[in-house]
Every structure is written in C-alpha cells, then in structure tokens.
Symmetry: C2
Subunit: 181 residues, 2 copies
C-alpha cells in the first residue's frame, strides 16, 4: 500500500527510485513487496485496457485505504471520447459514495491526466493525485495548460508524480510500437 507522507511529495521526474520517506516510488514499501500497491492495481487496469485495443491507461480511486472505483480507458469500446480512465473512475466513485464530492479520496492513474481529467479531478475535490508517466503531448499537470496552476482552478489536489512511472511508460511504448509495426 502506498505510504507517501502528505506534504512531502515528489513532483520532479528523473529522481532516484526511492521517495523522500524511503519508500519505493512504485508504491511498495520495503517490508511488503508482495502486497500490490494502488498504482499496481491501476497498472492492471491499464494492461486490460491495452489488451482490449484501448490506449493503456488505468485509474483507481481510494478512500480510507479501500478501492471504491477503478477503470481503464474505454473511448473506443464505448465510442465515447470522454471515457478516459479518470472520468470513468470519478463517475463510478461518486455513484459508490452517493456524493458529487470525493473530498477524502485519492486518485491513482498511470498517465499524467489531460485537461479534461485534471478539471474533473478538481471539480470532484480529489484530495491527492498520484500519477505514473508524464505526458508531454496531452498532459495538463506539468505540461500544456498546467490546469492546477490556473486561476480558474478552484481546488488543487496534492500531486505526486512518477509513481510506477517506468511500468506505465513501458506499457504505453509497447502499445504504440505495436500500432506502428
């Protein structure tokens, strides 16, 4: 289970593979390597999405250490351009808890969220955002419009980048390589 300390977070890619509190950035701590992290579960959903022909991105939403929603991308299967993993998980989570605000919830996603999803994360009042690979082409956290830094963003989650980055990036690379070959 991830155990990042609030307020002590890694926001820069390319740092050493241990977080500032000594835990592995994949979301495992040293003593429980066999226990899958929430980001591992998000990666499972990314793999399943990729196997179904979707861009391999997965997301889980967690409250009180319990997964309350999980999804992979479904834009092609659903023929819905808004069916990104984050949006699907947010909608499932609000349904699960019966509130349009996910105030005490943390969101784990394998890829830097886009402008649509960063805004949705903000509207949903997500407490912490953990993401894997950076997305220079479409991301909106540390790239592009950097939504959380805009004056029109009225709720900013704590952001932890680079969690499970290498696995998420490898999934995406393989997916796009297969499409090109």
């Amino acid at each position: 289970m991830p155990g990042f300390m609030p307020g002590i977070h890694v926001f820069i890619h390319g740092m050493a593979n241990k977080d500032v509190d000594g835990r592995d950035k994949s979301g495992h701590d040293g003593g429980s390597a066999s226990m899958p992290s929430f980001m591992d579960l998000a990666l499972d959903h990314a793999r399943a999405a990729g196997a179904a022909g979707e861009v391999p991105v997965g997301c889980v939403i967690v409250r009180d250490s319990q997964v309350i929603a999980a999804a992979g991308n479904r834009t092609l299967i659903d023929r819905d351009p808004t069916a990104h993993a984050e949006l699907l998980a947010i909608r499932a989570a609000t349904k699960a808890i019966g509130s349009e605000r996910l105030t005490d919830c943390d969101l784990y996603v394998t890829l830097e969220p886009c402008a649509m999803c960063t805004a949705a994360i903000s509207f949903a009042r997500i407490r912490r955002l953990y993401y894997g690979a950076a997305d220079p082409k479409g991301g909106a956290v540390e790239h592009g419009v950097r939504f959380f830094q805009s004056r029109t963003c009225h709720h900013r989650p704590e952001v932890y980048a680079g969690i499970g980055e290498s696995q998420a990036a490898a999934l995406l690379r393989e997916f796009f390589k297969e499409r090109r070959d």
Copy 2:
C-alpha cells in the same frame, strides 16, 4: 436557424449586435425571427436545469441542421461533478451516431465551456463551437487556460462567442441572485 459563415466569426464580446454577415447574433436571421435558433433550444435546457436547482447551462449538438443531442447541467441531480451540459450532450451525440468522433457536428452552449468541456469538445472533433455568456471565473476558451490555444490541444473547433449572450447571462445572474437572497 443560425447561419454564420465559416471563417468569418465574432470572437470579441461587446461588438455590435449584428454579425459580419448581417445576421442577428442571437442566431436568428432577419427573415425568420419566429423560428427558434439552436441557441434558443440550448437556453430552454439551461432554464430547465435552473428550475431543477442546477446552475442554468444548456447545450445542443447539431448535425446536418438536426439536433442530435441536448442536455442541461445535471451535476447535483446525478451527483456527478462531470455532468456538465456539454459532456452529457457529447456522450449522447456519440451514442446517437455510433461514433466517438463528432466531426461534422456543431455544439451550442449557453456559457463559455470550462477546461473539462473544452478538452472534451476537442477530443470529440466538434466542428464549430457557439457559446453565449463569457465565464471569467471558470471558462477555458477566452479565459483561464485558453485550452484551444495550447500546444496540447490537437483539434480546434471554429469558435463563435457571444451568441445569445444577454439571455444566458441574465439566467445565470438571476440564479445566483436567488441563491444569495
């Protein structure tokens, strides 16, 4: 029925009430004042949303001069922070035509879309975006992140602002005044 010419559009608020092709900016042309425009239909959905306690914003999506989807805000009713009129209409439209791309479709919305909705409009490949009131606090077309001007925006619709602006703005003013009183 609106008849704005592609490529000749009004993007600045506060201009005279006639478009460059001589048509009334409300979406009527001079000869058919009794025929409701697509923006009038969007305003009807905004009013219905307001009557249900939602922020009064409405949206319609049009293809080949036919409305293929329409929605008002439903964030509170659905307990879903992503249930903005535009997102609901986009999802309904893609379902209606069986494609995740709305390439030949135009979207009419009574309020300047937010970051979530501008990105969704781009992903859906909407051809033209017509909107009413500007939204300095949450808009993402001419305010905030100005998504369509970002390098991470890979499809830009033609944008026509200020269509039915006064009615849309009056609806929102009344709604928030009632909430304050």
